[in-house]
């Protein structure tokens, strides 16, 4: 046999499974190195502005007029976890839109990855892992800012961080799967206007869904953000375990969405790369 084997032996084993996805994650970390200062600064400023304007400003009026409207807690305490889940949703959506366009259409770096031993599954899962990491950073900073505002009263608040990550991923998976089928991000603004903004406003983020007209209340259960808000709020207010069955239901719905979204994301990335 004339095939030289020297090269073969010198070659490292091709990365597969977890190691392959970790390489994709590493690529994103390299990209992020140049942007992280501005990005982290924004992660501090955004919640600080919202908590000041709505939690303290608006909340001041709310608390003065109806002290018991939010189950005996101040509006700031009610609002902070809702905002945490809401911003995790937005971050998850955003991270699954433009980076996916960049990878599949604009700079085609996902195609470049697929020319190596990296497969479509690693591309998709590495991307989701990176989104989870970014969501984690945002949630940690948010929780810190909320604590500085006095909006954290229970050590359980730490559980708000994984709850926020889960909420963001529940949106990132399906959104990534959808964007993988698109040639342009044109649909993004429509999705933001008709899906994200209504969910942001009516999922118990700013007021309890019990304030909605009776007929609309069950619809809130269809909103993934509602389940995220219930979890983060339960965590920061320390009421999560008061009704364990309810908490598990919220958790199961979000985990289910992450799983379905993740599977669709992998499938659509594969359809695009391996045509």
């Amino acid at each position: 046999m004339s095939t030289p084997t020297r090269d073969l032996e010198a070659r490292p084993a091709v990365p597969s499974g977890f190691r392959a996805a970790a390489r994709v994650f590493e690529h994103r970390a390299y990209q992020y190195r140049r942007a992280f200062r501005g990005s982290l600064f924004g992660s501090f400023v955004n919640p600080a502005l919202f908590l000041t304007a709505m939690g303290l400003g608006l909340g001041g009026y709310v608390n003065a007029n109806s002290p018991d409207a939010f189950g005996g807690v101040s509006y700031l305490l009610f609002l902070a976890p809702g905002l945490l889940a809401g911003s995790a949703m937005q971050q998850g959506i955003f991270e699954a839109t433009f980076p996916v366009m960049y990878g599949l259409v604009w700079r085609r770096i996902f195609h470049a990855m697929y020319a190596t031993p990296i497969g479509p599954r690693a591309v998709a899962l590495g991307t989701l892992a990176w989104i989870a990491f970014r969501l984690g950073l945002v949630a940690i900073i948010f929780t810190f800012v909320a604590w500085a505002f006095g909006a954290v009263t229970s050590p359980l608040a730490i559980l708000g961080i994984p709850a926020a990550i889960l909420t963001g991923l529940a949106f990132a998976g399906p959104m990534g799967a959808y964007m993988a089928t698109q040639r342009t991000p044109d649909k993004f603004s429509a999705i933001f206007r008709w899906v994200i903004t209504p969910l942001f406003l009516f999922s118990g983020t700013f007021f309890p869904i019990e304030s909605l007209p009776g007929a609309l209340q069950p619809i809130a259960w269809l909103s993934p953000l509602f389940h995220g808000v219930e979890l983060t709020r339960g965590a920061t207010l320390g009421t999560l375990l008061d009704d364990p069955f309810r908490a598990v239901a919220h958790l199961a719905i979000l985990v289910g969405l992450v799983a379905v979204g993740g599977i669709l994301f992998v499938r659509n990335i594969r359809a695009k790369l391996a045509a």
Binding site: D7, R11, P12, V14, P15, Q31, R107, I109, I118, L273
Partner: protein, 313 residues
């Protein structure tokens, strides 16, 4: 079985077919690429060259036929095969959010190389691609030729046994093309097998030891550039260019002048062993073309003969 194929050819295809819906992009083609050779797919746009390259690159499943690369099966051993290939796609896929050097390092990581090894190879390859001065520059401001060289450097980070180049010099100016050809020639001398597609006959003649001519999803001829020219064309060609209108009125006057005659919209190609003699004979017949050009046959003539069309429209 695979060992016996591996010993004879690096890439082995029989009846390879690729369909997109009802459209057949590649129609039952056969070819073999031997270790160390520069092998080309020559053909016009849409001939099926890129689809073929993507099947070889194990990023595009095929519908029918057999394909073995480095003795392995793309359907089951795609990642292992891709680990030993270098791919230079038609469209650059560099990451513009990274620097020149980072593009190489991060790419090496995909092949399972350590960071230190990636860095070492990146510096070597930047030298080879004549991009060392731009190592810490962003990718975006680089010229087209530099980006191409960076893409080639990136494709070499895993020390591939086969380098796949899809239209490597399309869109580059002549100087950048010659620089690139020089780099590819050096790679070939180092023993890297080159597989490239092109619709430039000069590129095919410069770089390829052997090539196949593709047209409409099929292979229409195979051989070395010299063999193809000898077999499908004559040694020389006399190109007679006539004013508009005159060409159509030449009916019959050219008969018997040359071994073969091709009429193009603006000129007539007379194929013969001795082009000068043919041009002179035409003059004796009273033909007065605007210009006369006698040249050696090229792959362009081969393509014209095989398909009745020009390579570049």
């Amino acid at each position: 079985m695979s060992a016996e194929i591996a010993s004879s050819s690096l890439i082995h295809a029989r009846g390879l077919t690729k369909r997109f819906g009802t459209f057949t992009a590649v129609d039952a083609i056969d070819f073999d690429v031997a270790r160390g050779e520069a092998f080309g797919f020559l053909g016009p746009n849409g001939a099926g060259k890129t689809s073929t390259m993507r099947m070889i690159g194990c990023t595009s499943p095929f519908n029918e036929g057999t394909l073995r690369i480095l003795g392995m099966d793309p359907e089951t051993e795609g990642p292992e095969i891709r680990g030993r290939l270098g791919v230079v796609p038609q469209q650059d896929t560099l990451d513009e959010e990274l620097t020149v050097r980072e593009n190489l390092v991060i790419y090496g990581r995909y092949f399972g190389l350590s960071r230190a090894e990636c860095g070492r190879r990146a510096d070597e390859l930047l030298e080879f691609a004549q991009l060392s001065e731009r190592r810490n520059s962003r990718v975006e401001p680089l010229s087209g030729g530099m980006k191409r060289r960076l893409t080639i450097a990136r494709a070499l980070i895993n020390e591939p046994e086969v380098l796949l180049l899809d239209e490597p010099t399309t869109g580059l100016d002549p100087q950048a093309r010659h620089l690139l050809w020089d780099r590819l020639y050096r790679l070939k001398q180092r023993g890297v097998t080159l597989v490239l597609t092109t619709h430039y006959m000069d590129e095919a003649e410069q770089l390829c030891d052997r090539l196949v001519v593709m047209d409409k999803a099929r292979i229409v001829a195979v051989g070395s550039p010299r063999q193809l020219i000898d077999y499908y064309s004559t040694r020389e060609v006399a190109e007679l260019r006539f004013p508009v209108g005159v060409l159509e009125a030449l009916d019959g006057q050219l008969d018997g002048l040359a071994d073969r005659i091709e009429r193009l919209p603006d000129r007539v190609l007379l194929y013969a062993e001795d082009g000068e003699a043919v041009a002179e004979a035409a003059h004796h017949r009273g033909l007065r073309p605007e210009t006369v050009l006698v040249r050696r046959s090229t792959l362009e003539d081969v393509f014209l003969r095989l398909t009745g069309r020009s390579l570049v429209d």
